[in-house]
Amino acid sequence: MLRVNEGIDPLLRRPFSICGTTDGEIALILYKIAGHGTEILSGKKAGEKLSVMGPLGQGFTLPGQNEKAVLVAGGIGIAPLYFLACALKDNQMEFMSGFDTSGNIISPEKIAGRSINISIATDDGSEGYSGMVTGLLDEYLDKNIYEKDSIIIYACGPSAMLKKVSSIAACREIPCQVSMEALMACGLGACQGCAVKVFPQNDLTLYRHVCKDGPVFPAHIIDWGAI
């Protein structure tokens, strides 16, 4: 949780993913201008200090030895997946990322040192696969159908995309972890603002909190109908 400004405008902190670390010290944050807060952020100069609270919540669970990780990003959702990719070996993963148009492609490898091979999809077909990244995912899974037991999907992006990825994974019975977005206030599991509806469990709680229980959840526990 980042405080973009001292003072009251905007009042609340903004949640961001850690997209990389250097020597366990500097956390790189990647952001896109979504509104007022991120716009202010974009005006910050190198060297300015901001108040950060974190890391918070639960991250991705790394794949097992023989599992192949399929990373599916939508837009700025690439940020946490890039961080995940840094922890994986190249031959252990398949990274695909969707953007609306070629001009908006985000290449985080330019920020950190390592270069990672990412398959691109653009909605308008201006670069890479033409269509949504979920199409690219389908294509990949079709080709690698016999591997399904050893595949695990990691996804981050807009809710509609996560919903689609989740349903693809469910159909094909592939385990899937999604990193969810939500408006947040406290970031600590205290305000219950960032709730996400899950299928009722034994303990009857119907909501989980993106800030504390998430942002990463097993896709199958989320009640996608409520999204």
């Binding site: 905007p10 009042l11 108040s51 408006l183 406290c186 205290a190 219950q192 603002g193």
Partner: protein, 306 residues
């Protein structure tokens, strides 16, 4: 004078080491802030509002940011009184602060049952009765908007508890003084105010309310002037102590409420912006007292010159 000033305050039957508490719903059950705040320094912790049974809360989105404030329609999501007593309270007993339990019911009977649930339970310094929720008996009308209903709830709680009773008032009323008096006459030991102002926000792209619940409660710096006015009105309407709440983010804000006559304050939304807000405020109050040569915070309380 450089000695540490005396920050202790006495609110009727409730004694606190300093006048700074957390506001209900903004500090969870305390444990959420453990790694960031030295809870032992706080005057008090008011936990999230508890109902008889666990509640899941409202559909999302539940929050929206507004100019210098936020709207929330959490829908009083909570773990219920039993789980609180079993799982949260034992841990809270280990903290050297006044733990205050915020309760709300949907009928006068539920309020009575909640009071009874804490009878004899140790480690609870006081009950704070949230009367700003819809009354099922009266078809959804909010208890706290009507002096007679507020009085009835207060009476039932007071009769069924062995703890000091704080009644928390809603600001969405024509005459806060009348409400404060009604609650005082029915036996409340302390009054706290304000709860959130009812508000709304609309997403102009989708032409939909920003909250799934349509309306919600406005909190944060935006409401401070309204809160301060109502606290001052309450202080002038009753003899029992008053706790000031609303838009406090730093020690200067807290001082405004103390000067207006509040015996203590609660800090809500500020905990989201700066999780250490309560600690910073306590330090700030000390600094102010030292700077002004004031050895006892009680000399500030109610010192407004008109």
């Amino acid at each position: 004078m450089n000695r540490s000033p005396d920050l202790r305050v006495t609110l009727g039957p409730l004694e606190m080491k300093n006048p700074v508490m957390t506001a209900s719903g903004t500090f969870g059950y305390g444990c959420e802030f453990e790694s960031l705040v030295d809870l032992n320094l706080l005057g008090g912790i008011v936990v999230k509002g508890l109902s008889l049974k666990p509640m899941a809360g409202n559909p999302v989105p539940r929050i929206a940011e507004t100019p210098a404030g936020m709207l929330n329609a959490i829908g009083l999501a909570n773990i219920g009184v039993n789980e609180f007593i079993e799982k949260k309270l034992p841990w809270l007993r280990g903290i050297d602060t006044s733990v205050i339990v915020n309760i709300y019911g949907h009928s006068t009977d539920e309020y009575e049952d909640l009071a009874k649930a804490f009878k004899g339970v140790e480690g609870v310094a006081a009950l704070e009765v949230n009367i700003s929720c819809p009354n099922v008996e009266m078809g959804g009308m909010v208890f706290g908007k009507d002096p007679a209903l507020s009085a009835r709830v207060t009476e039932r709680v007071v009769k069924n508890t062995d703890k000091p009773v704080i009644v928390k008032l809603t600001p969405n009323v024509t005459d806060i003084g009348a409400l404060a008096r009604a609650v005082e006459e029915s036996g409340a030991d302390i009054i706290s105010l304000i709860n959130t102002l009812t508000g709304m926000a609309i997403d102009i792209e989708r032409r939909r309310p920003k909250l799934a619940n349509v309306s919600g409660g406005l909190s944060g710096p935006a409401i401070k002037p309204v809160a301060l006015y109502q606290v001052w009105q309450a202080v002038n309407s009753v003899k029992i102590p008053v706790i000031g709440i609303g838009g406090i983010i730093d020690y200067r804000d807290a001082l405004e409420f103390l000067i207006a006559g509040a015996k203590a304050v609660q800090v809500g939304t500020a905990n989201f912006v700066n999780p250490r807000a309560t600690m910073d405020i306590i330090e700030g109050l000390k600094g102010y007292c030292i700077e002004k040569g004031i050895d006892d915070i009680n000399r500030i309380i109610g010192s407004l010159n008109i």
